[in-house]
């Protein structure tokens, strides 16, 4: 590798890192402001106009904070864990295009690469939990493993549906295929599965079970503070951005927009960012609305609803492809299945028998047994 190539590589890495950091700063501000307005609060207002400098202040505070280390942690694993979470989330950006031909390395197996790397960050969470030698952290780490692995399956199957439609794992080609109709219209079922499974992958509300503050007080991150904690934080928000941009690329037509030429990269980036931020706002909206699921509810939703639905999605896509039916037929099948499942689930919720509890306010002395 020549000196010039090395320099280029380093500058590209630094550029992506800077870009992602700016995105994360904007996301934290946006989330606090958006959630605040949803709860009739104002969100940050004091630092800068509209509190715009709040994320900068937060970042400085996190950097300046003392990095605490409890005496019984497994040091090497403890310090490596944040990197094990962060590096995969950073690596997937190698092949995510943000406009036509604007990507670090376009790969034929791009989607495969992204999915392979996004699973890796679970290792970081588990090791973080284990190395902290803290009960809450260990429980949190195991919860993360259980949750993320089980939601990986519907996520991959939803992506598989798109791959079957586009006949390619190359994200550029997937987007180019959507120049007439976006896949959200052809495959709404896939979009719903991908979005829900994506939320669970991110560990965001209502699936924030591994960092649940009220149960495991921050899960794998309990013992971390200062800069090391902020690496986890950074990874979480980059992941949010990644899932949102994958939603846009796979289902919402990426940088394509009717009437906007995709030859100009700047316009493409703008369209892509607008769409991605819209998806992120939906994620924040969901966070502002729903309470956290219990772990058994999460598991039953994943294995009993989403995994079968994802298989059905793959099967109807295969049928549609094999018989070369028109696109609207897949839309109808997809919507019909979605409506049927929602109807069935809501019917079960309504008719579920309420558990009966009998509370004895007064127990006569004669009934109290002292024999045992």
């Amino acid at each position: 590798m020549s000196a010039l190539e090395t320099l280029l590589l380093v500058s590209v890495i630094l550029g992506v890192l800077t870009g992602l950091s700016v995105v994360v700063l904007s996301l934290t501000w946006l989330e606090r402001k958006f959630l605040g307005r949803m709860q009739m609060r104002m969100g940050p207002t004091r630092s800068g106009p509209y509190g715009l400098l709040q994320p900068v202040a937060d970042a400085i505070k996190l950097m300046a904070k003392e990095d605490l280390l409890s005496s019984w942690v497994d040091r090497v694993v403890y310090w490596v864990a944040p990197l094990a979470v962060f590096i995969p989330t950073f690596m997937i950006w190698v092949t995510i295009p943000i406009a036509k031909d604007l990507v670090i390395q376009n790969m034929e197996m791009g989607l495969f690469y992204i999915i392979a790397f996004s699973v890796l960050s679970i290792v970081g969470l588990v090791t973080a939990g284990w190395a902290s030698s803290n009960k809450y952290a260990v429980i949190g780490g195991f919860r993360a493993a259980a949750q993320l692995i089980s939601y990986e399956i519907p996520l991959i199957l939803a992506v598989l549906g798109v791959v079957m439609l586009a006949q390619s794992m190359n994200l550029q080609k997937v987007v180019d295929q959507q120049d007439t109709v976006v896949y959200a219209l052809i495959q709404p079922l896939g979009l719903v599965i991908f979005f829900i499974a994506g939320l669970a992958e991110l560990g965001r509300t209502p699936f924030d079970i591994h960092p649940a503050e009220s149960e495991v007080v921050g899960g794998p991150f309990v013992e971390y503070s200062g800069a090391h904690w902020s690496v986890f934080f950074l990874a979480e928000y980059i992941n949010t951005f990644a899932i949102a941009s994958l939603t846009v690329l796979l289902f919402l037509g990426g940088w394509l927009f009717p009437g906007v030429s995709d030859d100009v990269s700047a316009l493409g980036v703008l369209v892509f960012l607008v769409k991605t931020y819209m998806v992120i706002l939906v994620i924040f909206w969901v966070r502002g609305t729903y309470p956290r699921l219990r772990i058994d509810q999460l598991m039953s939703l994943g294995w009993k609803v989403l995994v079968p639905l994802a298989f059905v999605n793959v099967i109807i896509t295969a049928v549609y492809k094999f018989y070369e039916w028109p696109a609207w037929s897949l839309t109808i099948m997809s919507v019909a299945i979605l409506v049927a499942v929602v109807w069935e689930l809501s019917r079960r919720m309504r008719t579920a028998p309420t558990p009966e509890y009998t509370v004895k306010l007064y127990v006569p002395v004669s009934e109290v047994s002292n024999a045992g």
Binding site: F34, G36, R37, M38, Q39, M40, R41, M42, T45, W285, V286, G288, T289, Y290, V342, W343, L345, S346, M349
Partner: protein
């Protein structure tokens, strides 16, 4: 399931409402007339002296013992300008210890102490709110101007005088109507 969608709509509609937050240090809500702030001393503008005689009733009843008062002979009484034989010489309230209970106001025989609208007195030092007589009177004058305060005795005297007059007036009216 439909409930979930309804929940999303609720948060969305809340999003478009204006926040109810007041930006407190920048934006002050008007204080109600009956707001009970820190106790201050009243100023008798007619004779140019405080109402307080330094009798120490409030000092003795104060549950947190945050007040001290010293009495002196009133020079204005010697000149024949005032009816008060004794007058307050020095008075101090440690407002940092005051719990705003209002007992001092209830026990005062001279309407000399009142609960003002004063409430933003944060200081950096622990004893930064020890307030002396001139300062208390200054706060009292501000409160008097703001609220149009009059001594309780004056109001009572007027109230006793009024019904007699009104009764007399109504009698005269009825007499006129009959004739």
């Amino acid at each position: 399931m439909l409930g979930n969608l309804k929940g999303l709509l609720v948060t969305l509609s809340t999003f478009f409402r204006h926040p109810v937050t007041y930006q407190y240090p920048d934006e002050h809500k008007p204080i109600e007339d009956r707001y009970m702030g820190f106790p201050v001393l009243m100023w008798d503008a007619k004779v140019e002296e405080p109402y307080c005689t330094g009798c120490m009733v409030c000092v003795r009843y104060c549950p947190t013992q945050c007040m001290t008062a010293v009495m002196k002979d009133n020079p204005l009484h010697a000149d024949g300008k005032s009816t008060r034989r004794k007058i307050v010489d020095s008075f101090e309230i440690n407002l940092g210890r005051c719990i705003l209970c209002g007992i001092c106001v209830d026990v005062c025989n001279f309407d000399a102490i009142e609960m003002s609208h004063e409430h933003e007195l944060s200081k950096y030092a622990r004893n930064g709110n020890r307030t002396n007589l001139p300062k208390l009177l200054e706060m009292g004058k501000a409160y008097q101007q703001e609220s149009g305060w009059r001594p309780e005795k004056e109001i009572k005297a007027e109230a006793e005088a009024k019904p007699v007059d009104e009764a007399a007036e109504t009698k005269e009216e009825t007499v006129e109507a009959e004739s």
